[in-house]
Symmetry: C2
Subunit: 305 residues, 2 copies
């Protein structure tokens, strides 16, 4: 059965990252949520990127996205510097220190959807200020499925905005600490169920190397181990890759049934495993849909019993 | 297809534990590896327990094991005090402080298998001094499948004994820290594969609430999430329960094929989830085979996609 895939709009950050891990250091490499989401989601479905960069941004870095059919009409180029993040990961890659956050033009980001982006069936609101996310929700026409991401900063300084967003989306993706922070629940399962009461149909709890849990309003939770990577290089962008592949798979299959959502989580899982194998988006630049499918099948072999 | 189950011999500790967790405190409750292994393994197959207790041991506490058909002929009662362990768990139950370890008669433990115990087809060497484990290996006749457990203490003070044991068993169960300590590998998968080179057919890496990984000489590793427990009370004995149910399932099915070993790991997983729902062996005292099967089926629902 062939589907004409519905298309995706992603709203988030574009950045130039300086990253240090035990495996090395890279300076000013392509980063930001839309870079990862565009790179992997573009393997599944057409994507419109809504983001902002400064006039220092090396636009040729996005050539590989264009080749993947990613639409950059909504990428605003503003006078000033591109958002720059600098971080250093501990030997335990679940821990990192942020060394610098220079917002640059990102500080004035006021996302405006292009006409086509407004009509997307699938919407991914990557981690930005919830006020901007709420603004996007007034612009988008009739999305079939909306995924929302956030971070501890917004939970701490704009809990009300985060809660409002939870009432407007189909799925939220959070890491374990964010679930604790939002719900005061020690149990991830209890916390995720509490979050469902705010409105979303699904909560995905991301646990990094320990996998993820998908909790929905009906049925049993879905326990998804991580795809084991023996030599991780850099976890930056793994969560964005996860969300991008997940929504990309849903868009490409046009099936929002609970078992297809589980399969989408598995695609997110295997896609994220490629991201951590190199710095930044490097591995995603050459990634193919066939490689994703092959690792999906290997994952199936790793969990069947 | 009905199998007459092969029987199991387990060699390990019997103890009286004082345990404090965020959920409460119990004093001198039944503990030690053989208590957990007997309790859960006895639901699957006949078990012979080889252990030592002092003359202060409240033997009626083992009545429930006898009712389950556990053979206590190899339980030595010696003059002196029963092994006593006292520990306090942190809010994060993966962390605990040992407050007291009073070996008592356990210090002089010199395991002697009864005639019947020597002929067991399945052998579980729970965590004791590897010299004693090596001694048991000279007594057992022809086990079909031997599982071996150890701890950081023995890896630190008798690495040679631990390595010798690895060369004599079919499976070793270790937690993530023990794998790091034994192999100096940061990757659990790499570490587990390194351990296979010492001889065992299988390595099980236990990651507590994050599940386990089964690595064998052939085929893909098996990724097994933990069964999610929303209100854990006490994790003491979860690892012994895991091993006991796993070997019990293998003994009851008499099938040592790789997929049945995966199913055995799942039985170990769901059995361990019952143990953490109460202090010590309390929950296992009333556990039935039907409850185990029901949770096994729920687990299947939680991982299929």
């Amino acid at each position: 059965m062939e589907h004409k895939p519905g298309y995706i709009t992603v709203v988030g950050s574009a950045a130039l990252d300086t990253i240090e891990t035990a495996q090395g250091r890279v300076e000013n490499c392509l980063g930001g949520s839309v870079s990862f989401v565009g790179a992997v989601g573009g393997l599944f479905a057409p994507i419109h990127i809504i983001a902002i960069v400064g006039d220092d941004f090396p636009m040729q870095e996005y050539d590989f996205l264009k080749e993947r059919g990613v639409n950059l009409d909504g990428l605003e180029v503003a006078e000033g510097k591109t958002f720059h993040w600098e971080g250093k990961y501990h030997d335990d890659m679940n821990q990192r220190d942020t060394l610098a956050t220079e917002l640059g033009v990102f500080e004035g980001f006021d996302p405006k959807l292009t006409k086509e982006a407004m009509r997307a069936e699938y919407l991914l609101l990557a981690n930005i200020n919830p006020e901007l996310q709420l603004n996007v929700m007034t612009q988008i026409k009739k999305p079939r499925f909306t995924v929302f991401d956030t971070m501890n900063l917004w939970i701490n300084i704009n809990l009300d905005g985060v809660k409002k967003m939870l009432g407007k989306v189909d799925m939220v993706t959070l890491n374990d600490e964010e679930v604790f922070l939002l719900t005061n629940e020690n149990s991830l399962l209890k916390g995720a169920r509490k979050l469902l009461e705010f409105g979303p149909k699904y909560v995905v709890v991301k646990k990094g190397e320990h996998g993820s849990i998908l909790v929905g309003k009906d049925g049993a939770p879905f326990l998804c181990p991580a795809y084991p990577i023996t030599d991780p290089i850099d976890p930056t962008g793994a969560g964005d890759t996860f969300a991008g592949a997940m929504l990309g798979y849903l868009a490409s299959t046009s099936d929002l049934g609970p078992f297809n959502v589980r399969r989408a989580v598995v695609y997110g899982t295997v896609a994220a495993s490629f991201t951590v194998e190199a710095f930044g988006v490097e591995r995603l630049k050459t990634l193919t849909h066939e490689e994703l499918n092959a690792r999906y099948r290997t994952f199936q072999e790793m969990v069947e019993f």
